[in-house]
Symmetry: C2
Subunit: 421 residues, 2 copies
Amino acid sequence: MTVSTITAPATPVTRSHCLALDRDDPLASKRAEFELPDGIIYLDGNSLGCLPKGVAERVGAAVREQWGADLITSWNKHDWFTLPGRIGDRIGTLIGAPAGTVVTADTISVNLFKLVAAALRLRPGRRIILSDTGNFPTDLYIAEGVLGMTGQHELKLVAPEAVASAIDESVALVMLTEVDYATGRRHDMRDITRRAHEAGALVLWDLAHSAGAIPVDLEAAGADLAVGCTYKYLNGGPGAPAFLYVRRDLQEALASPLSGWWGHAEPFAFTTRYRPAAGITRQQCGTQPMLSMIALDAALDAYDRVDMGALYAKAQRLAGIFIGEIEWRCGGFGLTLAGPRDLDRRGSQVSFHCPEGYAVMQALIAHGVVGDFRAPDKIRFGLTPLYTRFVDVFDAAVILEKVMAGRLWERPEFRLRSAVT
Amino acid sequence: MTVSTITAPATPVTRSHCLALDRDDPLASKRAEFELPDGIIYLDGNSLGCLPKGVAERVGAAVREQWGADLITSWNKHDWFTLPGRIGDRIGTLIGAPAGTVVTADTISVNLFKLVAAALRLRPGRRIILSDTGNFPTDLYIAEGVLGMTGQHELKLVAPEAVASAIDESVALVMLTEVDYATGRRHDMRDITRRAHEAGALVLWDLAHSAGAIPVDLEAAGADLAVGCTYKYLNGGPGAPAFLYVRRDLQEALASPLSGWWGHAEPFAFTTRYRPAAGITRQQCGTQPMLSMIALDAALDAYDRVDMGALYAKAQRLAGIFIGEIEWRCGGFGLTLAGPRDLDRRGSQVSFHCPEGYAVMQALIAHGVVGDFRAPDKIRFGLTPLYTRFVDVFDAAVILEKVMAGRLWERPEFRLRSAVT
């Protein structure tokens, strides 16, 4: 592929400065814990996290030794039965959730259904689920599904910045994604939770782009409910089971409509009537996919002894350099930053509004930088500090400049849309 | 362990006869396609199927080459996006379901919730979900969960033999498990479906103990809805994703309350309103656990070119010998057959009411025969003809006789209950 020759402009930082930052990075050694793809700069760990070393071996052993050799006895012998709760506790340490308040199960969508439906029952007489237009679409779709069954509620959507002022005593549940999947904008969890509680509403936080990315303290914020994803920053593998959180003092009052046998007080008594288990266990429903669950458990080793504050500090520094370079190099091509400029109000990803963004991202991928496109016009980059270096974001910005300056995205093959991007 | 010396009685069959049956078995070669545990007779494939050869390699390659190397591009490059539907079509060939009517996703419990809630909307004004006391408990629990949300319906339970006569015009949905998990008793799918349709009701079949075990022809029976399990007879691995079936002409009318983005007509348009996809795809909800999904896809190779009629014929012959031997050898110890004696009215498993059944099963496992116990009093054995030999069921009966005759189950260690059996 022919790339236009460009003269390097004076830029906010230099490549050698980035190399120096990498040398001084206290998290630099974590990169060696991942199997990273050859020859590309992967900035899509907010969509599918990279493969931690050790996972392949653990999964292989689980297939051969647990499933293959020990078969049904593995439910006890290898503690499959307790794994969803044990993984939940591990994730809990990353999001400020005490032991016994998180369980790993199902998908975010399914877990949202459980919690939204259950939360509405705790606020009889209140009609409104309040969310914002920046929420991830499936969260809104699931709320629609709940409303369709209750026939008594309404989903109210406001702009993200209008959420706090829209909370009043008609609101049963405030349902938000903390970090906007498209822009990286971050809600103020403490402030919104406090305002919701003052109005007597419950709050449910979707941590899909928070868990493993930014410091979260559910307990300190007083959050009622949360869900989250394990295949993005937590590197659990494609479609790894999601998690959910219920504040301890709400657990016994919260009745999941997905009242399956794994949430029963005595699943192996095989009684005909449902009786929910104590604690977070009642939020389980059916038998979980153990191979994917075991991969997730192995993957979480990469987060052992990681300080989330230090991780986020690196993410912000990566973002600062990346934003600066892109604006310097590509601002003239119509790229503008999505979301706030204040790094404290952002998660760990960066998006730009970009004319012809779909084709630009395809061209960028073809030139070795993997991000993704989010309709209608954003090119999106996940900065995952466990394995992303400062020099990576610098080089990515240089390559994006080449793509823009050379109009490399104009080739027809970059404009054909595939099913998933 | 000391085993009482017993004189072999004259029995219905001989071991050498069983060895001869194995030599003549047209399915005998399938056994070589499985990694079977050493030194035990595994009669619990109706709880967790054995590991097919080739699965470990396929899963290992998926971890390293798809997740590890190709990362996010695997959704297109390795067709992850279409895998739930493609596996659904493969399962469809085993249960008489045309292409495009089955999808693999979530758990049986979650899929039941989708279909029960959606079915009730198709029969407004009818209050009753009819099921039987032999249904698997989670099916009943999930129905309870749906009822708790609609506030307008009632779950009516009758004895299995009373189902047909209990169908009347108050019934919105008949919800049954075709083969009783505890006794092996099999409902007459065609007859009950016909009666339900005559009364204007819909029918949902749980095929957990049918798929891969007995011939099922959903289309010929006119079944409306079905769910099923892939980790039992289909050997998909622990907690492998479940499947669901919707008759083609019902698909566009059926609105899942679990309206997640994977069921959206344009999931990557990221619109704020839900618009269901066409066909069976709308029954998907969230991102599926791909490692477990890929294991299932590989495992299904063992069913390629298997004639379900021939498989069931072997299952019945295995059951005939096993029942005959156990009754002959152990009838004097109080064991009595659960479920019907007519093999055409049974699935592919055999249970016996057994005094001290829990301890008996623990002792039996300790002596190398793995079945399971189902409360309150049944010892249960899955006869999975792809890898179970005639000599296996003969030997298992001989060992059970030793356990009963020697009262080997009386040891204290066999009476301690663990969490899962």
